[in-house]
Symmetry: C2
Subunit: 261 residues, 2 copies
């Protein structure tokens, strides 16, 4: 059992709380029994698991031993210091990040793509990844300035979806979309004034861009959209919460796309 905060592996976990630390090492961590179980089942590349000495979920511990995953326990006080959550569940895993090249997307014959242009709130990004996964989207293209996929808050909101939804990170959107546009019908979501989302033209390969919570989609990214689309709102509220708007748009695209594809 590790009892010191100064242990190199404890220091490593702590460094993964920052975006800089994650980028430097190519690693990240997840917390909680449910998420770790999903990561194991999805055959994610787990380096090691840390649990608090008072952690009591024997099903997970058995799974860790069965799969021969490197693991060690620490004192509860040490665990609290490395956990990201306010009331930690007492177990976390350090994983290798997936390295993906967005050019892969060009190979897809049929696809629904979610493109995030500097969506900043980690909860929103995580929720959008989870919704995209539920709605049968093929991939998420996270443009530069979007909250990091491996941010603990993004991972929590995404639930297990981070393990089955390919997310392309830090993509230079104007360049990528210029290439994509040749093969993909690119729609851009705007709060009002676009084509009603239930009437927007869909193609075998369709992408939808969601913009920053405050500023919307940047001009350079917007230049690469074929159509702007909006949600019809018969009521009085001026706008929707960003995740809700993205959720409704993905639902409507998915509903229509899957009825013909």
């Amino acid at each position: 059992m590790i009892i010191s905060d100064g242990n190199p592996r404890i220091k490593l976990v702590r460094s993964l709380a920052s975006s800089h630390g994650r980028k430097k090492s190519g690693l990240y961590f997840i917390e909680g029994a449910k998420l770790i179980e999903e990561a194991i089942k999805a055959n994610e590349d787990i380096l090691f698991i840390v649990y608090s000495s008072d952690f009591g979920d024997s099903t997970l511990l058995k799974l860790i031993i069965d799969r021969d995953i490197d693991n060690f326990s620490v004192l509860p006080d040490v665990f609290v210091n490395i956990a990201d959550t306010a009331t930690p569940q007492g177990v976390l895993a350090v994983l290798k990040q997936q390295q993906r090249d967005w050019h892969e997307i060009m190979m897809l014959e049929h696809c629904l793509l979610l493109v995030l242009d500097a969506v900043q709130d980690p909860g929103n990004v995580g929720t959008m990844i989870r919704t995209a996964d539920a709605m049968g989207f093929s991939a998420v293209i996270a443009g530069r300035g979007t909250a990091d996929q491996y941010n603990p808050k993004v991972l929590r909101a995404a639930m297990g979806s981070s393990f089955h939804m390919p997310v392309y990170n830090d993509v230079p959107l104007p360049e990528a979309l210029t290439e994509l546009m040749e093969r993909v019908s690119v729609l851009a979501a705007v709060p009002r004034g676009g084509i009603d989302i239930d009437e927007a033209p869909l193609a075998d390969r369709t992408a939808i861009i969601i913009g920053n919570e405050a500023r919307g989609i940047s001009d350079k990214v917007m230049d690469n959209a074929a159509y702007t689309v909006s949600i019809g709102m018969p009521g009085r509220a001026e706008s929707l919460n960003a995740s809700i708007a993205a959720g409704i748009i993905m639902y409507e695209i998915s509903r229509r796309w899957y009825s013909t594809n």
Copy 2:
């Protein structure tokens, strides 16, 4: 200027942070210039406004004086102690709660109703009120056990929608739905196995029940639903975030209902 924490009005504001204090006085408070401006424009019954002596929004202060609303300033240290937000904007208003009788609903000829069965998270309740407002719903029926409409977190997530969307609080759902069912088509949202929401039968008067985040809709409430409905999910995620699911369901009902009503 009030400089003491012990001032009766300061004590009153502090009591409104708790559900018990709000129930006892029939009052509540809202924070921030934007929300207060919307409350003034919606002619809400504002008892008084408290601002921090370093508050600098002269447009709002002018509006407060123009409308002859009772107001006073406090030292910044006093303000921080009564504010609900971590980084307060320096202004809050105390308002009278709306007293509504859910039997009013029986008078509506055409209506879309959102029914909340013990939805617990204040952020979810506020977001659902905001979405219902955007989607042209007529009213929200908040069953017992649902987060209080006047909880500061609910009010923040609802944005200005609390001022135009009638919300019926603390409604005894089984009894109310038994009466409503005679005039309203009641649908119940379930994670899977219900009729696809884009095919569910809609009537001139339609209500949709959303259940508790963990337990779903209680049996006694479910007994009063004519149909269960679900969102078609072609993807892999097992479920959606509760607010997202409610948002998609309200969107789909609204889209179809407004095309015929």
